[in-house]
């Protein structure tokens, strides 16, 4: 029965004298209130199916996604992609935590540890892989690493990978010096005030592990690590908080050396800046995935993921953002530019990259992020 019919019956009962005026008006008022309260949410729910929210890292990365993936996808399907940005997985997680299920849909997350952390907080969806046939082009190792975390299923598709290596100004620091000093260049007194670093606690601990000769996935002497972080802090001009700030500090020559994201450094080189890039032994490798949050419109999200994994889309995005795609070079011809990108592995095995162990890093997250926050501020 529709609302008009209900109203007509009610009016008839009122006119017949079965309802008094007060009850009739009360019921009309209640119906109006219910409609008023319900309508915005119904509109929102209906709108969700015609749009998908995507959040990523901003800057050149978001530009590449917008130009080569979202706009063509919207043109093809009519589904709008609303794209937002974040400074890191922690910040995004906080926003998701403050929102209702469905408010955020897909995130460009970094590392398996983020995947495990989000899944641990009950935010993982379950993708229907049959709806993502282009998943077959992806390096199997990159997909398989997620399955044990979410009971054999996946909540994301791998999309790209890269490294956080050492970026340096070639005018002031030679390649030979970089090779000789490796990660310890960030503790070199000679460059005091010309050193920087990412404000991310994992990266700081990872590099401190390298500087103290420890396994970044199994450090045993944390005191030495905190001391190395203190030394780096005292030599640093600034902790950068975004890719844009990293690029600006290097391009403006405010700093000569920092660790940096491979794709952003490649972008600087493309712009003509004389910035070198080097992955030290056991440098920080990572993969990024497109993670679908629980409560999202799954068919639309799966369709978008499949579109984004199509080789022509994935390659175009990779060339735009300067990170190698997750596509297996043994299955897909990746063109000319991608093999020149930093961290690219032509074998598709990624054997040369060291990834963060999610159990190790997430197991210490609460303790170490807090401790780093203190040391960062002079303690």
């Amino acid at each position: 029965m529709d609302s008009t019919k209900r109203y007509e019956r009610l009016r008839e009962r009122y006119l017949n004298g079965d309802l008094d005026r007060r009850v009739f008006l009360g019921l009309i008022g209640a119906a109006g209130l219910a409609y008023g309260v319900r309508t915005p949410f119904v509109r929102e729910a209906r709108a969700a199916a015609s749009e998908v929210r995507f959040d990523g890292w901003g800057g050149v990365v978001s530009e590449a996604f917008r130009e080569y993936a979202f706009d063509p996808y919207t043109e093809k399907t009519g589904v709008k992609v609303v794209d937002g940005t974040f400074g890191g997985g922690d910040e995004y997680l906080s926003r998701v935590k403050a929102s209702q299920p469905g408010g955020y849909n897909i995130a460009h997350l970094s590392g398996v540890f983020d995947y495990a952390r989000y899944a641990g907080l009950g935010l993982a969806s379950e993708l229907n892989e049959d709806n993502i046939p282009n998943l077959k082009y992806v390096i199997p190792k990159l997909v398989d690493v997620f399955r044990p975390i979410t009971g054999g299923k996946i909540s994301c598709v791998p999309y790209d990978y890269g490294t956080t290596g050492l970026a340096f100004n070639r005018k002031h620091i030679s390649e030979d010096e970089m090779k000789e000093k490796g990660a310890k260049i960030l503790l070199d007194e000679t460059y005091k005030g010309k050193i920087a670093g990412w404000s991310d606690w994992r990266t700081r601990i990872w590099y401190a592990s390298l500087q103290t000769g420890q396994d970044p996935n199994n450090a045993t002497d944390m005191d030495a690590i905190w001391e190395a972080i203190r030394t780096h802090r005292d030599l640093s001009l600034k902790y950068w908080t975004s890719g844009a700030e990293l690029m600006s500090l290097l391009a403006e020559e405010e700093i000569y050396v920092t660790e940096g994201w491979s794709g952003r450094i490649y972008a600087l080189q493309e712009q003509g800046h004389d910035i070198g890039y080097m992955d030290p032994p056991n440098g920080f490798g990572w993969q990024e995935c497109l993670f679908v949050l629980k409560g999202s419109p799954m068919p639309e999200c799966e369709e978008l993921l499949n579109f984004m994994l199509a080789p022509e889309t994935s390659i175009a995005v990779a060339e735009g953002q300067n990170y190698p795609p997750a596509l297996d070079p043994q299955k897909v011809d990746l063109g000319k530019k991608i093999p020149t990108l930093p961290a690219f592995d032509p074998t598709g095995t990624l054997a040369g990259l060291t990834f963060a162990d999610p159990e190790y890093w997430n197991g210490h997250e609460a303790e170490w992020s807090k401790e780093f926050g203190r040391i960062q501020k002079g303690y």
Binding site: D90, G120, L237, K238, A366, G373, K377
Partner: protein
Amino acid sequence: MGVEAREARQPWILLSPALVAITLLLFVPLGFILVYSFWLRTATGADVAGFHLDNWAEALTDRFYRDILLNTLKIAAITTVVCAVAGYPAAYFIARSNRNKGFLLLLLMLPFWVSYIIRTMSWINILGVSGALNSLLLWMGLIDEPLAMLYNEATVILGLVHFLMPFMILNVFVSVDGIDQNLESAANSLGATRVQTFISVTLPLSLPGLAAGGLLCFVLAAGTYITPLVLGGPRDAMFANLVFEAIITQLNWPLGSALSLMLLAVLGALVLVYNHFLGMAQLMKGMG
């Protein structure tokens, strides 16, 4: 209903939209924050509801938070003093300008047309190694190498002064503009020099505006988060940055709630002291 009763109700009827908004948008969220401050964060990042005093105990007894709070208050105090010293002459000049007052006030409002973040970041282009100032000094031959001027406590204060100066000038302007100039003329005619007139007449009468501007500058400076992030060095964090880190980076909403309420309590106490001695009326005039 009698006329008196109706008249008594009228202010409340007129105030009701604002009261509802303040209740829903300020007091209810504050209530949530208060409740959150007694919860606990687990190792996985999930929150455990309950009544635990751990966060408050940590926030109130840990030297780390106390030191950063004191440093924040110090930076806010320095910013306020600089704003007062530099802003008073400007406000006085505008108030005593008969022909250009409107134009000068317009100039004063111009910075508000540009985003606070953009204004803060503009200092990077001015003070950076390849910024305008270093380029000028190099071009003039006064220096051989660019000076490192950015990313320290001084640039944080500079950014805050840049942001807050208009608030100070507006408050002092309202106060000075409201002073009857006949009083100054009377002091002059009784033999006081211009300096004596200023010290004995103008300055005391403009003190409420100065205090209102000072309060605004101090409270806004103490609660800032962007300026130290953009213009500060590794150690130049302020208390709001701790709240951000607790809530965003560490996902520790309960501790972040306790820290934010702690800052609110300190700044609220300051406002209460101000209200006790000077009242809020002058502050409203300055803001209006």
